[in-house]
Subunit: 307 residues, 2 copies
């Protein structure tokens, strides 16, 4: 399963009632933070999470509202005696930007590893997590900017009959199901494919913020279990602002969802000028019915289907 | 008069219920912010203020909890179409720190002027504000750190009898009272001292955070109308922590106040480990009776006395 918490849903500047857009994803015991604007550590704590166990920070881009909270977060991690390294991922320039910001967070008791993105699409697994894949894809903003999909794959169903036919003792079943190759007491090597059926549908979360509509978003979100997408403006008459500032309207996000057909769409990254998203949701749902307004703390656990 | 709003009272990290320590001071139409940690622009807005009209930002030092909110604040000022320059004041290294942080706030529509402090004590007036003086004084922390006093002087009482004896028309009275030299219609030059009595007691606010107790604090706060002073820990058994981390306990702040005799003491910069300051205030008031726990948004207007 993938635990998802939208920590904030604001764009541009943090507001008393709306933190800046960022996302916490927890899967297989790993914690991944996407973006870290000013106040992200506050909303993280408000939702009952701690900064200490964050393994990975993915940055969409380096506009301040997506990274200004980083020095404070790093210091809070340091104060909680973290020693494990943190992986940071983002467009080219990441190390320079992070090191500049670290003028006020110079001494940390943990290493930072950088992975800078430059291709149109890049995928990578976290160490020891071959069933959990992070896929970065370039989107269309005023500066280089990436969206991210996170995919949890699912092995085939365990074939009890085949395991019994092979005479495998039950303690080996779980290891095979997790994808391990095992050796039996009588010296036979058994690979997972000998006892597992065909791969089943996994889970996918797609996250996009700060972009004009573009094909890479539709491709990434195709059939996703959850698509979280920026919608800077609800009002129809803000279309020109959206184009000028390289953002999207709610309607544009909904059109992308209609093309990609995720199970659900959550909107986020609202303009400070947008008081409430709800009044615009009827129009959005005419385009894509399973659309919901993101709000600070909105959470879901994505689970494998029962089959 | 001087309007004072303690925007936050936390130290180290911003918390859901307690913003980082910073202060907004308004006097003679000027707005002065002291320190700007992560979230300061949120609490500023929460109290009904805007970042746009801030004229001066005073930094005590460059630990992240005192400056991490600066890039976001600068961008919010930019987004509100500010064009007037901003004066920043702080210990040596200010320009380097600010410019490093500006990696995420590069293009601003206003100038930043820097005033770096290096002496044990430095005083300066804001342009056109000769009756309002800012006095920086070095305190004792793990890095160079300054406290600030802000002083509004008060001219002598207007001597109506003398003005009448000089045959001055009433329209000139107000200008003389403000300290202007005037020329009468019949060509006489009149200076303020010809119609004003001796200078009267002005107003003084003294602000200290991140320091061990030291004499410069007592000197600065001597007879102040308000002394705002850090008290990192309320608990007696945290004395060693206070020494090790170059901070103060509530009791140490109160002892400084007892020596300086300000009209009031407000405590601030509480450790995240301190849930509430109130349980420790009885002990504090045994040392200095007019002591109050700072809290986010605590405000006062300091006014000249009636005489």
């Amino acid at each position: 399963m993938i635990d998802v918490c939208l920590l904030g849903c604001g764009g541009m500047m943090p507001m008393p009632h709306r933190f800046l857009t960022s996302l916490l994803v927890r899967c297989n015991g790993k914690q991944i933070l996407v973006d870290c604007g000013e106040g992200t550590q506050i909303t993280l704590r408000k939702r009952g999470f701690s900064s200490n166990p964050i393994d990975v920070i993915l940055f969409t881009h380096y506009h301040a509202d997506h990274i200004s909270g980083l020095p404070g977060l790093l210091l809070s991690m340091a104060n909680s005696e973290r020693t494990d390294p943190v992986l940071m991922v983002g467009p080219k320039g990441l190390e320079h930007v992070v090191n500049s910001l670290r003028v006020i967070a110079p001494g940390l008791p943990f290493q930072i590893e950088f992975r800078e993105l430059s291709e149109a699409e890049e995928s990578f697994a976290l160490p020891g997590e071959k069933d959990f894949l992070i896929r970065a894809f370039k989107v269309r903003h005023s500066v280089p900017c990436y969206g991210y999909s996170m995919e949890l794959s699912r092995t085939g169903r365990f074939q009890v009959e085949q395991a019994e036919a092979l005479g495998l003792p039950k303690p080996l079943w779980g290891r095979l199901q997790k994808g391990e190759t095992v050796v039996t007491e009588d010296g036979r090597t058994i690979t997972p494919d000998q006892v597992l059926g065909g791969e089943r549908k996994g889970l996918r979360l797609t996250y996009v913020t700060d972009s004009r509509p573009c094909d890479s978003i539709v491709r990434a979100a195709q059939g996703a279990d959850l698509m979280i997408c920026e919608g800077m403006y609800g009002e129809e008459d803000k279309q020109q602002d959206a184009v000028a500032k390289k953002h999207m309207t709610f309607a544009e996000a909904a059109q992308l969802a209609r093309a990609a057909q995720p199970a659900e769409l959550w909107l986020t990254h609202y303009s400070p000028s947008l008081i409430k998203p709800e009044p615009y949701m009827d129009a959005v749902r005419e385009i894509f019915p399973d659309a919901f307004p993101g709000k600070d703390g909105k959470s879901v656990t994505l689970r494998f289907s029962e089959d």
